[in-house]
């Protein structure tokens, strides 16, 4: 029966129908729902791995063991998984292996806008790019067929607009291929002669895949008016159809690596003018130019940001729809940390103590926005620890006394452990704050190795953060409750002053975790409230001052009591009865 399905759920459906049996992933918007939806099928073992490198290695191991497997990640996750990726491409598989990677043009939830297609080419791994949910399902199934036929991992590349759009899907049946037995093969040890042979095989495979690309069903031509020919893929295809309908001919590439040659030449030969419509980098365009096909591409369309139908209209010299407007400036509505977020007290204190804050990636990145403005920079997961060590190497004692690295629990497990090991081993007097909120918040509340629960919420192993930090060489490991501002202030002062490196673990569960018990919202004692706005300095969205009195939004306030510690007049009173 037809149903409306999220693109990521359709990938999960495809994984299920293709009899994928093992999925290991690390969350990351816009890829997370692939694994979460797949976990709803009892037939698929699903886990959150500590990071994407581990996830890919696990999935590959399962493939060697004879089960179809997969992993899912966001584009930047592929940087982390790149090391195994390049050699798995040489090494080959036993059962099919699919890598789902989701790009984020427009950076709705990402720190950069890199184009994953470069990895397909660099690692010589074929890449399929669905343009809607039904294609997401079908291409995922196809990916397993190709993976086993050509003995290569296969990418299913999503982007935000395909991953997070629902469109109509007609689910099929799960079809299980016979299980491939594991056979020891010395040729799989990747060194010297084996690697050299493997590289030769990979080049042959690419030639075979290129031949496959020439007339496979993944790439299709839709002839319309021949004055204009558009070569496109993924969501750009949808914009092309939206704007031109059949007033242009379209070559839609479902496989964007390896790219065909003859198919492109033939298509170009049938139309008067060829335009390549692709988001981000000019990969198809460059390929066409290399083949000597005259095309226009990035001289018309931007490299930065995501496309839309109006952008295509504007770049192709067409009229855009008429709009209405008013003169008032509309204030922005940036995302903010939730009312009662345990991260807030830490950032308030860091601001107060005028620290240089090397941040990291998570909900706590919101510590950078007004009124806290308490983060100097961030780079990628884990950089807060290693980057701070480097910063302190340059800054010396002056830096060490006033700087901290701030990292979330999930991010710490992902890539922070190696960074703090460097601090302990090479001995800068650096201070790291681990924000242990017992969850992976930013990506929608996934379990991780510090929470004691697995992906399905069942009891699982649990990392002891204090013991781990001690084991890598930290003698000063402190635990604080971030709701206690005075204590956070004192501990931070002590650890910045201490003559050796320290870890401060700020421990308090995220208020958005299901089942977290909240206190009653606070009450404002309007007689005591002086309207001084001191409470506003912590930037809680549940508190505002109107007509010279504090007001609490009782639908948001969780009674954390952090604002009460700001008030000199005791005007914010507990609402508990």
């Amino acid at each position: 029966m037809k149903e409306l399905m999220l693109g990521n759920k359709a990938v999960a459906r495809g994984l299920y129908e293709a009899a994928c049996a093992v999925i290991s992933s690390y969350p990351g918007t816009p890829s997370t729902e692939i694994t979460e939806e797949a976990a709803l099928y009892d037939e698929i073992y699903c886990e959150w791995a500590p990071n994407e490198k581990v996830a890919l290695e696990v999935a590959h191991g399962a493939s060697l063991g004879g089960l179809r497997s997969a992993c899912a990640m966001k584009h930047v996750g592929l940087n982390v998984a790149a090391d195994p990726l390049f050699t798995i491409s040489y090494q080959g598989l036993n059962a099919g292996l699919v890598i789902c990677v989701a790009d984020d043009p427009g950076m709705h939830s990402s720190q950069n806008e890199q184009d994953s297609r470069h990895y397909a080419r660099a690692a010589k791994v074929p890449m399929l790019e669905p343009a809607d949910s039904e294609e997401a399902r079908l291409f995922t199934i196809k990916a397993y067929e190709l993976s086993e036929k050509f003995n290569t991992p296969v990418f299913v590349k999503m982007c935000t607009r395909v991953a997070h759009s629902q469109s109509v899907v007609e689910p099929g049946q799960r079809v299980c291929p016979p299980r491939a037995p594991y056979v020891k093969d010395q040729g799989k040890v990747m060194m010297t002669v084996n690697s050299r042979n493997a590289h030769v095989r990979v080049e042959e495979r690419t030639r075979a895949l290129t031949a496959y690309a020439e007339d496979c069903e993944l790439n299709r031509v839709e002839m319309g008016d021949t004055a204009l020919g558009i070569i496109t893929s993924s969501t750009s295809y949808q914009y092309a159809k939206e704007v031109f309908g059949d007033k242009a001919s379209i070559l839609k590439l479902g496989m964007t690596w390896p790219l065909p040659e003859k198919l492109l030449r033939d298509f170009a030969g049938k139309v008067d003018r060829v335009v390549v419509l692709e988001e981000l980098d000019p990969i198809i365009e460059d390929h066409c130019r290399k083949l000597g096909i005259a095309v226009s591409g990035k001289e018309l369309f931007p490299i930065c940001g995501e496309f839309s139908q109006n952008l295509v209209r504007a770049c192709m010299g067409q009229e855009e729809p008429k709009t209405l407007s008013i003169a008032d400036a509309i204030p922005p509505r940036p995302p903010v940390m939730c009312a009662g977020c345990p991260h807030r007290g830490i950032f308030y204190t860091l601001k107060k103590q005028k620290c240089m804050v090397y941040g990291d990636i998570g909900c706590y990145t919101l510590g950078a926005v007004a009124p806290l403005n308490a983060m100097d920079l961030n780079v990628c997961m884990g950089a807060s620890c290693s980057g701070l060590h480097g910063f302190n190497l340059a800054m010396g004692a002056e830096g060490e006394r006033h700087s901290v690295g701030v990292i979330g629990d999930s991010t710490f497990i992902h890539s922070g452990i190696t960074g703090i090991t460097d601090i302990a081993y090479n001995m800068t007097n650096s201070t790291i704050i681990i924000l242990d909120n017992s969850i992976t918040g930013m990506t929608g509340h996934q379990q991780n190795p510090t929470t004691g629960k697995n992906l399905r919420g069942e009891p699982a192993g649990k990392v002891d953060l204090e013991a781990l930090c001690r084991a890598v060489g930290f003698r000063r490991v402190r635990v604080v409750d971030p709701y206690n501002l005075a204590r956070v202030d004192a501990v931070l002062k002590e650890e910045l002053a201490a003559a050796e490196p320290s870890v401060i673990i700020s421990r308090r569960p995220c208020v958005m975790i299901k089942g977290t018990v909240h206190k009653a919202p606070l009450k404002v004692n309007t007689e005591k409230c002086a309207g001084c706005k001191s409470c506003m300095r912590i930037g809680c969205p549940a508190i505002a001052v109107r007509d010279k009195k504090a007001v609490i939004d009782t639908t948001l306030c969780v009674g954390c009591g952090v604002c009460t510690q700001m008030c000199r007049f005791d005007a914010l009173e507990s609402g508990e009865v």
Binding site: S167, Q238, S308, T323, L324, P331, R333, P334, C338, M536
Partner: protein
């Protein structure tokens, strides 16, 4: 039939996702091709959020662009104004009159513009503005404002029968909240 475009806009956490789920269900049931596009992630933390719902014989783009929306359903007044440019000049805006101050306003770095509904009307927009939050409260929970708004939206689609909406509610809303939501829908309609 040309593709029709409905936008649902609001503040992260207000329940826009359930509204689009119900709407998508209704439209699919009418035999249309449907696309629903939403942004997950960072903006769900109290930021400005938008969902695009498109339907027709064959829908291509998953998003709605400036000047293309037939209807904008807004959970909050400032958000209606933020997305005003997206409505067709002859299109319809349905907006809750609730005002949720964004952080720049709370900390005094910006002002919440006044009389937004009137200003949008003066700009030529058709605006159906009401305190839908109060209606949700009347139905039994402020959280049901999403369904109250769907009730009002249904007014503008007389060709779709009430049973299609009720069936969608049954399919999308947990059983224990069904009665409440049916009431909310009726109050909005």
């Amino acid at each position: 039939m040309d593709t029709k475009n409905i936008m649902i806009v609001g503040v992260g956490g207000q329940g826009t996702l359930l509204a689009s789920k119900v709407l998508g269900h209704v439209l699919l049931g009418q035999g249309y091709d449907v696309k629903v596009s939403e942004v997950h992630g960072m903006s769900q933390r109290g930021g400005s959020v938008v969902t695009y719902v498109r339907y027709g014989e064959k829908v291509y783009s998953p998003v709605i662009d400036k000047g293309e929306a037939d209807v904008i359903v807004s959970f909050e007044l400032l958000e209606a104004a933020r997305w005003l440019e997206y409505v067709k000049p002859e299109g319809q805006i349905i907006t809750n009159t609730q005002e949720v101050e964004p952080m720049p306003v709370i900390i005094g770095a910006a002002e919440y513009p006044r009389d937004l509904a009137e200003k949008m009307r003066a700009a030529g927009a058709k605006v159906d503005a009401e305190d839908f939050l109060a209606l949700a409260g009347e139905a039994g929970s402020a959280k049901a404002v999403n369904i109250v708004l769907m009730g009002r939206l249904s007014r503008y689609f007389p060709e779709i029968g009430i049973d299609a909406w009720e069936e969608a509610l049954e399919a999308c809303v947990p059983k224990k909240f069904l009665e409440l939501n049916k009431k909310a829908f009726a109050l909005g309609r």
